[in-house]
């Protein structure tokens, strides 16, 4: 992966909370137009990593180069080119879907906001929910609104933290197809943290597996399965987990 193709370059990134090391010496790069899965069990450091790449969490050490800029020192230069969606964050509950999207369109400086919102409403099957307050929506509907918010500015870099958590299989499938379609249409890069091995296997071009704050393996789903002689990514993950337990 050359420097020019790279959208994100993470180098020796570490985060310590007191004496606890949440992420250690993490280095990787993301090429443009890729969908990359960040896999790991609970406490592996996925959310901590995403938080640092979003600028919500200050790293203890290391660097993040995003769009060729030093993100830690100058995140405001690139924040308008990215967006995110996480189950740990909600949208204002009393505002309607339409109001929420209008506010975020304004925050991201979206031109032709009404047109863009109408397009997203159509794309994410939100047309009939536009005047509903967020608090009255089901979790599946809320996820669709959060994804619409995450795409409001046509981000070149989209970070998703378990976007299909608590969704039924059919809605998860539908969300995956939307994300793949978005990448294909716009050439954007998606970093995707998940517990769901099957989902990651279906959607991602490249996978990074984390354990105890470290990157322990990476490659395409096929490469990883071949390398470990397994039929599924879940089996690869379980083998890697067993290996780490023995350490």
């Amino acid at each position: 992966m050359t420097q020019i193709e790279s959208l994100l370059e993470v180098s020796h990134l570490s985060k310590k909370f007191g004496s606890v090391s949440a992420v250690s010496e993490l280095s990787f790069s993301l090429s443009r137009s890729s969908i990359v899965g960040l896999l790991g069990g609970n406490g592996a450091g996925k959310t901590t990593t995403l938080s640092m790449i979003l600028g919500l969490l200050e790293p203890s050490a290391g660097s993040i180069q995003l769009f060729g800029q030093d993100f830690i020192k100058n995140r405001h230069a690139v924040l308008h080119r990215m967006n995110f969606c996480s189950p740990y964050v909600d949208l204002p509950q009393r505002l309607t879907v339409s109001e929420n999207l209008r506010v975020f369109a304004g925050l991201y400086g979206v031109k032709n906001a009404s047109e863009k919102i109408a397009h997203l409403a159509n794309d994410f099957r939100l047309v009939e929910l536009m005047n509903q307050p967020i608090r009255r929506l089901s979790s599946g509907q809320k996820t669709r609104v959060s994804l619409a918010k995450a795409l409001i500015n046509c981000p070149e870099f989209l970070l998703l933290d378990e976007p299909t958590a608590s969704l039924s299989p059919d809605v998860s499938h539908w969300v995956r197809s939307r994300l793949a379609d978005y990448r294909d249409r716009t050439g954007s890069t998606i970093l995707f943290a998940s517990h769901d091995m099957r989902e990651v296997e279906l959607l991602c071009d490249h996978i990074m597996i984390m354990s105890r704050g470290r990157l322990i393996e990476q490659g395409s789903p096929e490469e990883l399965k071949q390398h470990y002689g397994r039929d599924s990514l879940e089996e690869v993950f379980l083998e890697l987990s067993k290996g780490r337990e023995g350490e």
Binding site: G55, L56, R81, S86, Y88, L91, P92, R94, E99, L107
Partner: protein
């Protein structure tokens, strides 16, 4: 696609407008408390005007209540808007957007000013037919008193929102407590000399003391003392810088400790 500060501040103001529009109790509350305060103190003033007329000369009691309330309202309006973001777990969405901290502060201050005016103006207007007292008779100095107290309110809010960022919603009660901590030292209803020496020492470091001393001189002695207002303004400048510093330090600490993603209790 790039955004200007104007777009982002407008978007945030729109967010608070939508919030108010969606909830009539919130809208009612803005005007409710100042009006109730004015009515209670208006009748108290009416009672004292017969028993001890010197206590209520020129509507001083109602004027003091209304002017003090502008500090409380500006602080509460600012802090509640910030708390709305914490209650709705929306802070992370704001902090990963291109919104800058100073734009957030300016938006909160603008909302606070609008809400304070919505609350105070009807109460002040109602005092005229109810009790025959017009706070507007104070003229231009009223604007000076009002703005000074609003600035004090914002300075307190900066500190409180910083504490909320750092310690989460567990520190929410500070929102209501802090302005009342200042009240006894602010000489709202009594002159500075009433306080014991040690309290006077503290009072002299409070901008609010000079606002109320100035107000009393104007109402009771018909004397306008501008230097009291300048002293208040200078102290407010210091408070504002201290409050802002506290907020920035707390925001930095929240980023270091990962508190922005999970800003609960």
């Amino acid at each position: 696609m790039n955004t200007s500060s104007y777009d982002r501040i407008s978007a945030l103001l729109l967010r608070y407008f939508f919030l108010l529009r969606s909830s009539w109790p919130r809208l009612l509350e803005i005007a409710y408390w100042p009006t109730v305060q004015m009515i209670i103190w208006g009748f108290t003033s009416l009672h004292f005007s017969q028993a001890s007329p010197e206590l209520t000369t020129g509507g001083i009691l109602i004027s003091a209540v209304l002017i003090w309330d502008s500090l409380f309202r500006s602080h509460i309006s600012y802090t509640l808007s910030f708390l709305e973001e914490m209650w709705s777990r929306n802070l992370a969405n704001l902090f990963v957007s291109p919104l800058r901290s100073w734009e957030l502060i300016l938006s909160l201050a603008t909302v606070s000013m609008i809400r304070t005016l919505i609350g105070m103006v009807p109460a002040a207007l109602l005092a005229i037919p109810f009790f025959g007292i017009s706070i507007f008779d104070l003229g231009l100095p009223l604007l000076g008193f009002f703005l000074n107290l609003v600035f004090t309110g914002w300075a307190i809010s900066q500190a409180v929102t910083g504490i909320l960022l750092r310690y989460g919603l567990g520190a929410e009660s500070l929102t209501w407590m802090l302005p009342f901590l200042l009240a006894p030292f602010s000489c709202i209803y009594y002159p500075l000399e009433t306080l014991p020496n040690w309290m006077q020492l503290i009072s002299k470091f409070l901008s609010t003391t000079y606002v109320f001393e100035g107000m009393r001189a104007l109402i009771l002695e018909d004397e306008w003392i501008p230097h009291l207002l300048w002293k208040a303004l200078a102290l407010n400048g210091i408070y504002f810088v201290v409050g802002l510093t506290l907020f920035c330090v707390a925001l930095r600490a929240a980023r270091r400790r990962g508190l922005l993603l999970q800003s609960g209790e």
